[in-house]
């Protein structure tokens, strides 16, 4: 006699009510209703697509308060779902079970979750999300960073590990796309994304709300097989598998399903993946792609510093006297001095296409002031603009000369219209981070 679980023909009233709630609750959480979302969607120019646009769209969570990550939004959704459940319960007294509807609800949740994971997976698989530290980052004191920035820098120095994490996320996402492997996927996602949630709380990151949202979706998916797993593993009883097959009442349904699946795979895996790879190879989105002054990248000691013709000697305390200057590979200069920095503490992941918006290098970073610059190499002019939104309008108009390959002389007007004369000398700085990779930690090193 072969085991045949009789397809349940009746759910208990409690089960029916819980399902109705879950159905409304998750559909509101997933199906876009924000005006902002549609504005973003329709502003996409198909001829100038950037994968960052998809990334931003996928972050969608319903927003009733103007602040998408306000927990009040969750309360609103719960209230709407409760009211909806009440109305539905009254209307549908005769309906005995919702097995098929449950199946399709799970499909919606699975694909929404997979989309969320995929857009993050590829920017880790190709280590873009946490790039290698910039020269300025390497020359900033540990305590001058916010916890979140340190988390990102710590991941950034090990691109291999970042790829590994991306690989796991990718695997979990792919497993979600198939009914039979969905539960296995949830067993990966709950610890992985759960960890993201706790990390965000601990490191004061801004993704706690969104990662909790994803864990919620995952938990819901796990419920389906939870009883079965408990029965088999903990109670050690013979256990029936899932036997519900989706029904396709109309003929157009199955082909449509294949079409939709195909579009999903194409956009979220094929196209997005290729774009991420190209970005990693050509234009990592976290750092600006503006061309810096030729062959200037490095850290410079401020040998001479004159303000209004008065020479200021080296000083540990003087807020005006520059301590050192970094020229990045791109058109950013950062200046370390004793002048306090009100940091930009944005901590939500974004993918920026526009170079001028790429603020990663100075987010959560104190100790240095960051300036983007416009340089005219033939005329020897360089114009600095403070990148930090807390110092808007701060500009330095300087001219520069380079007597040799390791010296840069800057003169002109600073942000207070004081005249400056600065001689910068490139330091041949050896970073322990790099040197130890060559000799390993077992040998003796002097640095």
């Amino acid at each position: 006699m072969s085991p045949q679980e009789t397809i349940v023909t009746e759910w208990s009233p409690v089960e029916r009510a819980l399902f109705r709630f879950a159905f409304i609750f998750f559909l509101i959480l997933i199906l876009p209703i924000n005006a902002d979302f549609f504005k973003q969607l329709f502003s996409i120019n198909l001829l100038n697509l950037h994968f960052g646009q998809l990334f931003e769209l996928v972050r969608y969570t319903p927003d009733f308060t103007g602040n998408p990550t306000d927990w009040v939004n969750a309360v609103v959704v719960i209230l709407i779902a409760l009211i909806g459940t009440l109305v539905w319960t009254i209307r549908d007294k005769e309906v005995k079970e919702y097995s098929q509807l449950y199946y399709w609800l799970r499909v919606v949740v699975r694909y929404r979750l997979a989309a969320a994971l995929l857009v993050f997976a590829f920017i880790k698989l190709y280590p873009l999300q946490s790039p290698e530290p910039s020269i300025s980052n390497l020359n900033t004191a540990y305590g001058d960073f916010s916890a979140w920035k340190l988390f990102s820098l710590t991941l950034g120095v090990v691109p291999g590990y970042q790829s590994f994490l991306g690989g796991i996320e990718l695997l979990a996402a792919v497993l979600l796309l198939f009914r039979r492997t969905t539960t296995l996927a949830t067993l990966i996602i709950i610890p992985f994304t759960g960890n993201v949630f706790f990390s965000n709380l601990a490191y004061e990151g801004g993704e706690a709300y969104y990662s909790f949202y994803l864990v919620l979706l995952t938990g819901f998916l796990l419920l389906y097989d939870l009883k079965r797993l408990y029965s088999l593993i903990a109670e050690e009883k013979p256990t029936f598998p899932n036997q519900l097959q989706p029904a396709y009442p109309a003929r157009w349904m199955k082909p449509t399903q294949w079409l939709l699946k195909g579009i999903f795979y194409f956009i979220f895996i094929f196209w997005y993946g290729l774009e991420a790879k190209a970005a990693y190879q050509n234009d990592p989105y976290q750092y600006p792609d503006s061309a810096g002054l030729t062959n200037s990248a490095g850290i410079y000691n401020v040998k001479t510093f004159k303000r209004n013709n008065e020479t200021l000697p080296y000083s540990a305390e003087d807020p005006a006297r520059w301590k050192d200057v970094v020229f990045e590979k791109w058109a950013t200069i950062s200046i370390r001095s004793n002048r306090p920095v009100v940091i930009d503490s944005s901590n939500i992941e974004h993918i920026y296409q526009l170079s001028s918006q790429r603020n990663y290098e100075y987010l959560g970073s104190g100790g240095r002031h960051y300036y983007s610059y416009d340089v005219n190499e033939t005329e020897g002019k360089i114009q600095l603009t403070n990148r930090n939104k807390n110092y808007q309008g701060e500009e330095l108009e300087l001219s520069f000369s380079r007597p040799d390959s390791t010296t840069i002389i800057l003169q002109g007007l600073d942000e207070n219209r004081d005249s400056l004369y600065v001689i910068l000398e490139k330091t041949d700085k050896k970073y322990l981070l790099e040197e130890v990779k060559k000799t390993g930690r077992r040998g003796a090193l002097k640095l």
């Binding site: 072969s2 540990y142 610890p191 709380l201 004061e204 009883k237 000691n301 540990a316």
Partner: protein, 532 residues
């Protein structure tokens, strides 16, 4: 076969599955399963027991009346695998895994001999259900105890200390990868607590049959990640982490095919037919509950208490002795004279200190723009003496110097010793045999009396025999740089004047002015150690 009672699901069957088929109890193993089991049995027994005499010596020397957290920890943490044949294979340690390979080869050999012996004596067993059960018990408890030992150093976060002021002042590029990773956990003590909870829960789940699979999945995932992290950051603990992944994988072997069958193949699945000893007799019941409660009692309640006193009074990686009360915080080096020659402030100068820091504990750190030999080790282990607690120094460059000091507060003199200890390669663990350039009594008797015995300078609740022993056995001479500086503190340490001699017998005159540094990084909400 008395006393053996298969855990039938008959009662369960009666409840849920109305017209279930009868299914055969798997009592006959296939030949390849029998051989594989024999090998696995030898292998996992060897991997679950301590393999060095040191462990046994240490375990029997523990003074259970005056414990330190490290005492039960050292019972939980031990290396395993057969090291009778050395730890290299074809001349390579295989990143430390060679010993596993050797153990496996040895086990295979023994397993095959065992198989042959059974065949020859015609006493072939048909199944190892019973032995398998006890093997799994051993592995479960070994894994559970081991991971809980680790978990407590995170639950009461001492494994990764919050950075000292000296470390906060060091540039990001002046650390090793390993240091960066360790610091990244140290800065979020509540995350460390969370990680500790996960590890302890995973361990606890392993102590009970029903939750063993869940515990193994958790252990496999968490420690699998840690293995990768250790390779990525050159953390050095990859072998011990992989060890738990291996044990977890072994425990999952039985349930994985069934989970796969149920979820992926969507087939009706029978549970594994495990043997469970009935243990109905009173002495069996008492033994079982006695052993279980002792283990849980020792490794949970006692460990928790010891880890707590450790965190509060003697965090094992951070110096525990409080520093001079006026000498605290970040200082600018306003004036610096060496051999009566003043050197103006310059971050470039290779002699002049560019900034100095007095920590809450017995350390002075300062920065000089001069290449200095570095200690690239993990700064781990659990040394009892402050001078040996090197987390402020290890993996850190940038010209940072760290000096341990003893303060004669009566005469206002600091006796400083470099925390960096020059090591000859191959000297690991051996007593320093290098000639010391300072006389043994470089600290005069009167000063020593004023300084007091450091052994007892921590809260008595954290006192332990381990600490007493280690201080008593401390080497009398070590090759370290030394300085003797008199200090004059003005306005409760806002201004400090240091005069004395440095490690090269130069005379120093240094004026330090304290300044308040506001770090972007949030302060820790869990304070380790007592320094008031």
């Amino acid at each position: 076969m008395s006393g053996i009672q298969l855990n039938t699901a008959n009662e369960a069957l009666g409840k849920d599955v109305h017209k279930s088929p009868t299914y055969p109890v798997q009592s006959d193993w296939k030949p390849w399963q029998l051989v594989l089991f024999r090998i696995a049995f030898v292998f996992f027994i060897l991997m679950s027991v301590p393999n060095s005499i040191e462990w046994y010596k240490n375990a029997f020397s523990i003074d259970w009346t005056n414990l330190h957290y490290r005492d039960p920890y050292d019972i939980a943490r031990f290396g395993s695998g057969l090291d009778w044949f050395g730890n290299k294979i074809f001349g390579s340690t295989l990143e430390g895994y060679a010993i596993w390979v050797i153990t496996l080869l040895f086990s295979t050999g023994v397993g095959l001999i065992w198989t042959a012996a059974e065949k020859l004596t015609k006493k072939e067993t048909s199944n190892y259900d019973r032995l398998n059960y006890w093997l799994r018990v051993i592995v479960r408890y070994r894994a559970g105890i081991g991971i809980i030992g680790f978990g407590f150093t995170k639950l009461l976060p001492t494994q990764m200390p919050y950075p000292s002021l000296g470390l906060l002042n060091t540039d990001f590029g002046d650390f090793t990868l390993q240091k960066i990773y360790w610091l990244s956990i140290g800065i979020v003590p509540w995350y460390q607590v969370f990680a500790g909870v996960v590890e302890i829960v995973a361990g606890l789940l392993l102590f009970f049959r029903k939750t063993t699979t869940l515990g193994s999945i958790l252990l496999f995932g968490a420690l699998g990640d840690i293995v990768y992290v250790n390779f990525a950051y050159d953390g050095g603990v990859h072998v011990y982490s992989s060890y738990f992944v291996l044990l977890a994988a072994f425990l999952l072997v039985q349930d994985t095919p069934r989970i796969f069958n149920l979820l992926v193949r969507e087939k009706f699945t029978l549970p594994a037919r495990y043997y469970y000893p009935a243990l109905t007799q009173t002495w069996q019941k008492i033994t079982r509950y006695g052993v279980k409660s002792t283990i849980i009692g020792v490794f949970l309640i006692l460990f928790f208490y010891l880890s707590l006193t450790n965190l509060l009074f003697d965090p094992y990686k951070q110096p525990a002795v409080k520093g001079a009360t006026e000498l605290r915080g970040n200082y600018n080096v306003t004036e610096f004279r060496i051999n009566n020659e003043t050197i103006p402030y310059s971050p470039e100068d290779t002699i002049r200190w560019s900034r100095a820091t007095f920590e809450n504990w017995s350390s002075l750190t300062f920065k000089v723009n001069k290449p200095t030999p570095l200690d690239l080790s993990n700064g781990g282990g659990s040394p009892m003496r402050d001078i040996d607690r090197t987390f402020e120094l290890t993996g850190t460059g940038g010209g940072q110097r760290v000096f341990y000091y003893q303060a004669d507060t009566v005469n206002q003199v600091l006796y400083l010793q470099d925390k960096f200890k020059a090591r000859n390669p191959g000297d690991r663990g051996k007593e320093q045999s290098v000639e010391d350039t300072h006389p043994v009594d470089w600290i005069p008797e009167k000063s020593l009396a004023n300084i007091g015995d450091e052994t007892y300078k921590i809260d008595p609740r954290a006192s332990s025999t381990r600490r007493i022993r280690e201080y008593a056995n401390a080497p009398k001479t070590e090759k370290r740089n030394r300085m003797i500086l008199q200090y004059q503190s003005i306005n409760n340490g806002d201004k400090v004047i240091l005069t004395g001699i440095d490690e090269n017998k130069n005379s120093l005159y240094i004026v330090l002015d304290r300044f308040k540094k506001d770090y972007t990084l949030s302060q820790s909400t869990i304070k380790a150690g007592k320094y008031d």
